[in-house]
């Protein structure tokens, strides 16, 4: 028996686009089959909607009215000056190893002298890797020589719609492997830019492995040029081997008519330490979904973020932390500022499997509501099947504190400045979790610019003039 469900316009467009563009996407012999499997997995259920618990607050069937066509190549070259306009001067000047992806295609890498790949890391384009018949890169990075099932591409058995769509359409991305025991001197900055005159969709995928005992800092920026709306799926799969340490920051800034469906999968082997941070400023419809699994004992997962929304921004942070081994620690702190009709969502699921004794999990989500029309939905979920654990969660939504306002104003600080100081300090507490000072300052300046409703490039001037929380941290 065949059950026919009504397809939405967007779903029909996606099917048409897949049929039309899949033959043009990169990939060796096994890849087209994996893409087809992924798309079929997506098509079987279609776009997720509110009756699916994990998508309760982010109904894509209602939210995605249409699916934009896959992005065309951009003719623009992003040199240092062009990067500064999309990233702001702080991040653009960050000393780093940088990869620039434009409209879903690897455009350039910028590697300072002495930081070339080889001894400490390997890095390449996903499109190139998928196009290689002998899988050298995949073997180098992931220790597998055959990738016949779609699982490695992430679609297959997993019916996560974002993962499946991304597997079907992924045009490029970064494949990165940090060599065992290596210490990278500079952070790796993956910049994904949408440069569009017309609405377009991108799908990018990053695969990262941090070898045993290695340490790395990775930043991902998702930014855009131009006012045309864009849709993106962006998946990052990062795995940390025993004793590895990774600091992983996402910087997402877009305009209100776009959609960003992000997914991070984090895998931690024994004693690995992962510190993640997700910064989201605006962006229209944003879903940041992160899945964490522990494959070895005594690993630490510390994840935080700040999200800023106004107008009709919809910013969803969804976390699934699966403790399936002993003695692991997880920490989450998310702070949001919501103005206008913005909506924030925090779903934090922590699963403690029966074997995962001595698990220590804590979660906190706090939102500052600047408008009566803003909405915050918080859904912490603890599923604890072990008996010797310490787990907790909390969530708050509050307006600006009147007592604090009075205190600041009684010291001569004008109302708007006092208000800004309190909002900035609220967000600053989350941003403080970013360990690297250069990255922390850059993100804070982008946040300040957004809060003051200024273009990112105007931020540092303003930030330097006004007394702001990060100034005092100098």
């Amino acid at each position: 028996m065949t059950i026919t469900t009504m397809k939405t316009k967007a779903e029909e467009q996606l099917a048409e686009q897949f049929a039309r563009t899949a033959p043009l996407l990169p990939g060796g012999a096994w890849v087209p089959a994996a893409r087809r499997a992924a798309f079929q997995a997506f098509a079987a259920n279609g776009l997720p909607h509110r009756r699916i618990e994990a998508w309760k607050y982010t109904d894509l069937r209602a939210g995605l009215k249409e699916a934009f066509s896959p992005a065309q190549c951009s003719t623009r070259t992003f040199d240092a000056a062009a990067l500064a306009t999309v990233l702001g001067p702080d991040l653009a000047q960050l000393p780093c190893i940088r990869v620039v992806i434009v409209n879903g295609r690897w455009q350039a890498k910028m590697i300072p002298a002495g930081q070339e790949p080889g001894a400490t890391y390997h890095m390449g384009s996903l499109a190139a890797v998928l196009g290689q018949p002998d899988y050298d890169w995949m073997e180098l990075c992931f220790g597998v020589s055959t990738i016949s099932d779609a699982d490695t591409l992430g679609g297959g058995a997993v019916v996560d719609p974002v993962m499946a769509l991304n597997s079907a359409f992924a045009s490029d991305g970064v494949v990165l492997s940090i060599v065992e025991g290596a210490r990278l001197g500079l952070p790796i900055h993956i910049v994904s830019i949408v440069d569009a005159d017309a609405p377009m969709a991108t799908a990018t995928r990053c695969l990262i492995k941090v070898g045993a005992g290695a340490k790395a800092e990775i930043i991902e920026s998702h930014v855009r040029l131009g006012e045309s709306p864009a849709q993106a799926t962006a998946v990052t799969q990062i795995s940390l081997e025993a004793g590895a340490e990774a600091h992983h920051v996402q910087h997402l800034a877009a305009n209100g008519s776009s959609a960003h469906l992000g997914r991070w999968d984090v895998e931690l082997a024994e004693r690995a330490i992962y510190r993640g941070f997700q910064f989201t400023a605006g962006g229209g419809l944003v879903r940041n979904e992160t899945h964490v699994s522990f494959t070895g004992p005594d690993a630490k997962f510390d994840f935080s973020g700040a999200f800023l929304g106004r107008d009709r921004d919809h910013i969803d942070t969804t976390l699934v932390v699966d403790h399936s081994t002993t003695g692991c620690e997880s920490r989450e702190l998310f702070k949001g500022v919501l103005d206008g009709h913005a909506r924030g969502i925090f779903q934090g699921k922590v699963i403690v499997q029966p074997v995962a004794q001595k698990t220590d999990g804590k979660q906190m989500a706090q939102v500052l509501m600047l408008s009566e029309d803003a909405e915050f939905d918080s859904k912490p979920e603890l599923e604890i099947y072990a008996d010797d654990v310490a787990c907790g969660h909390g969530s708050t939504a509050a307006e600006i504190d009147g007592d604090m306002m009075f205190y600041l104003r009684s010291r001569g600080i004008p109302e708007d400045q006092a208000r800004a100081l309190l909002i900035e300090s609220f967000v600053g507490e989350a941003i403080d979790k970013i360990q690297s000072e250069a990255i922390r300052t850059s993100v804070m300046n982008i946040a300040l610019a957004w809060l003051r409703d200024l273009p990112a490039q105007a931020a540092p001037l303003k930030a330097a003039k006004a007394a702001t929380p990060n100034k005092a941290r100098e």
């Binding site: 009075f406 205190y407 600041l408 104003r409 010291r411 001569g412 100081l421 007394a467 702001t468 929380p469």
Partner: protein, 251 residues
């Protein structure tokens, strides 16, 4: 000169009248103490002077140097020289003390038409004043008042007071929660600010603070009105007899 004329104020939320016709004058150069039982309206008077909008002034006026300040917001009053040292200073997580102090000092300077302090100038002043008051460098690095002890918070208030160079200082129960050593330090700080250009209103429940900050006049506030005014010996008298007399009066 501070002139409070027939001041009536109520809680904005529920309309409860707290101040029922206060008349008071504090000339520049003088220190006046306001004493009174709990619930007499002492803290309300302090808040109304500073411009807190939880209270509504329903009648009367507050003149500072001949000019009504009722229509001014708290920040504009600060610029005019009004400073309230809080009974319970707010803890403000995420706002570094130095950031706050600098924002405050420069906001007030800007409104007063004085050149704002540069970073080096500011640091120099704040370090010198902090040292005088025994405010450690480490405190200045922390978020404002967060994790400070009662004594540290009050010292921070006095530090702010001396940074902002107010002409009207209102000290609300500055001695509450302090041991004798802390009271001495805080009082010493306040005494340093005594000058012929500055009026001071010291609000306190107990007489002991007045051993360290000697007032020119003492007013007894009860039931929202000044019930009695005298010299500093009135405070000693109250220490012996308590406030029973004023409580009875209302009954």
């Amino acid at each position: 000169m501070l002139e409070i004329k027939n001041l009536h104020a109520r809680i904005a939320d529920d309309g409860t009248e707290i101040l029922k016709g206060i008349n008071l004058q504090v000339p520049a150069g003088e220190v006046h103490a306001i004493m009174g039982p709990n619930g007499s309206g002492k803290s309300t008077l302090a808040y109304v002077l500073a411009g807190r909008d939880d209270y509504e002034v329903t009648a009367g006026d507050i003149l500072w140097n001949g000019e009504s300040i009722l229509a001014l917001g708290p920040d504009d009053r600060a610029a005019k020289g009004v400073f309230l040292a809080f009974q319970y200073p707010m803890e403000i997580p995420g706002v570094a003390t130095m950031t706050f102090l600098r924002a405050s000092v420069n906001a007030v300077r800007k409104k007063r038409g004085v050149k704002e302090l540069t970073t080096p100038e500011f640091l120099k002043v704040v370090r010198a004043k902090a040292a005088e008051l025994g405010v450690k460098d480490e405190m200045l690095k922390r978020p404002l008042n967060v994790g400070f002890s009662g004594g540290e918070k009050k010292r921070m208030e006095i530090l702010q007071m001396s940074m902002l160079e107010p002409s009207l200082c209102v000290l609300d129960e500055t001695d509450s929660g302090l041991d004798i050593d802390a009271i001495q330090i805080v009082a010493e700080g306040a005494n340093k600010l005594r000058s012929k250009d500055r009026a001071m209103l010291v609000i306190t429940h107990y007489q002991r603070l007045l051993n360290y900050i000697q007032p020119d006049k003492v007013h007894v506030l009860a039931h929202g009105r000044i019930q009695k005014t005298g010299g500093k010996e009135l405070a000693l008298e109250l220490e012996k007899t308590g406030y029973a007399e004023f409580k009875l009066k209302a009954a």
